[in-house]
Subunit: 358 residues, 2 copies
Amino acid sequence: MAGIKDVAAEAGVSVATVSRALNGHPSVSPAARARVLAAVAALGYRPNAVARSLRTDQTRTLGLVISDVLNPYFTSLARAVEEEARALGYSVIIGNADERPELQDHHVRTLLDRRIDGLLLSPTDPGSPLIPDAVRAGTPIVFVDRWVPGVQVPVVRADGRGAVADLVGHLLGLGHRRLAIIAGPAATTTGSERVDAFRAALREHGVALPDAYIGQGDFQAESGRRAAERFLDLPEPPDAVFAADNLMALGALDAIRARGLTVPGDIALAAFDDIPWFVHTDPPITAIAQPTEELGRAAVRALVERIGGHSPDSVTLPARLVVRRSCGASGPVEEPHTAAPIAHPHPHPHTTVRRSNP
Amino acid sequence: MAGIKDVAAEAGVSVATVSRALNGHPSVSPAARARVLAAVAALGYRPNAVARSLRTDQTRTLGLVISDVLNPYFTSLARAVEEEARALGYSVIIGNADERPELQDHHVRTLLDRRIDGLLLSPTDPGSPLIPDAVRAGTPIVFVDRWVPGVQVPVVRADGRGAVADLVGHLLGLGHRRLAIIAGPAATTTGSERVDAFRAALREHGVALPDAYIGQGDFQAESGRRAAERFLDLPEPPDAVFAADNLMALGALDAIRARGLTVPGDIALAAFDDIPWFVHTDPPITAIAQPTEELGRAAVRALVERIGGHSPDSVTLPARLVVRRSCGASGPVEEPHTAAPIAHPHPHPHTTVRRSNP
DNA sequence: CTGAAAGCGCTTACAG
DNA sequence: CTGAAAGCGCTTACAG
C-alpha cells in the first residue's frame, strides 16, 4: 500500500508538501499541488487514517451505544445519527449493548480506547461507573433517549407524558377500566418514566394502578410475553395492556394469541414506539410515536457542539399518540387535547393521528 | 489522559516493560508486572488503540457493509456478525449503504482508510471498482448474502432455490395460477437469483412467468408498493405475489389494502426473509427463512481465516419455506419434498414449517 | 511557497 | 528479565 513517502517521491516534493496539498493548506503552489494530485492518482494513494488520528489527536469519529439493534426504534435512530454525522464530516461506530450492562461497558470501553471524538449514549446500565469516569476525563458525551440523572451531560429525548395521557384518555373513553402496563427496567429512565406517566394519567381520572397491573419487562419480546401471561393468569385480568416498547408489545401479542384470545375483543393493546409493521398487524396497533429522526440529528448536533468546546442545551421533543384499532372500535374520534392531526409516514384508512399537548 | 510513559514513571520501569506486562509477554518478572498493574489501576490507564494499531499494523477491527439497516434481515445479520467477531477478539464497524451505490463506496473507502483488518460485504453495487481494487490490494474480503460474480472472494450465503420451489408448489397447490414476483435490482445476486429460481420452479410445472408479472423493485418498501399497484392495474392481475424481501412485502401489503382488497382472499402474498412480525400481520405471512445467524457467524469465521492467511471455502446454507396463511386456507399440509418439520423461533398455531430439499 | 525535523503513543528487535 | 532506541505514517511549528 502506497504511503505518503511514495507520493512525495513520485511527485518530486517533500512529504510535508504532499500533506499540505492533500489537506487544502493554502500555501502550496498550484504546480506542486498538481504534481501531488497526479502522483496520488497514479499510485492510488489513500491517507492512513490511523496515523493521521494519532498525530492530530482526533478521529473524526463518533461512538453510538444503543440498547438493542434488533429494536427498530434504535435502528432508525442509528440511521439518522449516521446521516447527520456524515453530513458534518464524522463517521460513527455503533455499539449494541443488547440490553446487557457488561456489553454496554465493553462497547464504551472499546470506543474510548479507539479515541472517538465523542460519545452518544442511550444507557442500558445507568449505574455503570464508566460513564461518570468518562465525563470526568472530559470525553464529550450526549445522552439520547435514555439518560442518567445526576450526570452533567446534555440529554436529547422525547417527552411521552402528553401522549401517554392521550392514550389513557383514549382507553378510558373506549370503556376500559382495568389498565395495565408492561414496563421496562426501572433503572432506565424510559423504563420508569413511562410507568410514571401512565400512573399519573390514570390518577387524573381517579383510576388506580395496582402493583399486579405493573408487569416488569426488560424491553425484550420474551419479557413482554411473560408479563402478559402473568396478567392473563390474574383472577381479574386487565382489559387493556400498554407495552412500554414495541418488542414487548410483540411478545404480549404472542402470549395473548397463544391463549386463543383476541385483540381488542378480549383485551386491548397499545405500545410505546411506532413502527411500520403496526399498520399491518392483526389488528393494527395503537402506538406512541417518537420523532426518532429528529432526535438522532439533534443528538449529533449537540455532540458536535460539545466536541467544539461549547455547552449545548438538552433537547426534548414531544411524542404523539397514533390511534389504530387495537384498543377497540375506533368510532368517531374525539380529539383529546388538541386540534390539528399530523400526517403519518404510513397513511392507512384505519389510522388516526393525534398530537399530544406541548 | 494518562499515557504509557506516566505508567512507566509511576511503576518505576521503562515503557517497554509496561508494554510487555500489558501484552502478556512472558519475560516480565512477577514483581515488575505487579508494579505495572498497580500503576495502571492507580492512573486508570487505557492503552491508546490508535497508536497500537499504527505500530502493529492491525486494528483488530472488521468492517461490515450492509445494504440497509432498516431491514430486519441485515440487522440480525449485523448482530450475529458482531457477536462472533467479539468472541474472536475483533470489533466491527457497520456501514449502511441504504441501497445506494455512492454510500456503499463511501463506507468501503472510509473503512479501508481506517485500515480495518478485513471486510464483510453485501454489495449493493456489484459494479463498484473499489471492490476489485481492494481485492487486488490484498484486503481480506468475504461476501455475505449478496456477492459479485467473477470476483475471487469467498461467499457466505443462503441458497433459496429449494425453498422457492417449495413455495411455488404451495401456491399452485392452493389453486393459484397467475403468479407474480416483485424482484430486487437485477444487478444484485439476490435480486436476480430469486427471480430465476421462481421462473425455473414455475417452468417445472409448465407455468410461464410473463414480463408483466415481474415487478422491478429495489428491496425498499416503496418499490414494493409501486410494483403491487402496477400488478393490480393489469387487465388480468396476478392471483399471487411473491416479494423478494420483507420490506417490499410490506409495501405490497400497503398497496393491496389501500385498494380495499384482502389477502389471501383477493390475492396471495409471500415474502423472502422471515421476520418476527410476519406471525402477527393480517394475515400471517408465508415466508422463506434464511439461517441468518449462522450466515453471520460463518462469514466472520471465513474472514478471520482469510486474515490469518488461509483461503476459506465459500459457504452455502439452505433456506426454508415457512407456511402461514397469506397464500390461502392452510388445509392439510402436504410436505413438499421432504419429511421432518423444523421448529420455528416463533411457534404459532397457524405456522407450519417445511425444509427445502438439500 | 517549501523542506527538515520533531513528535503523536505505542511495540519490538537488539543488546545487555 | 530489562531498557534504550527505532519506527509505524502522518502533521505541523520552525526556519528559510
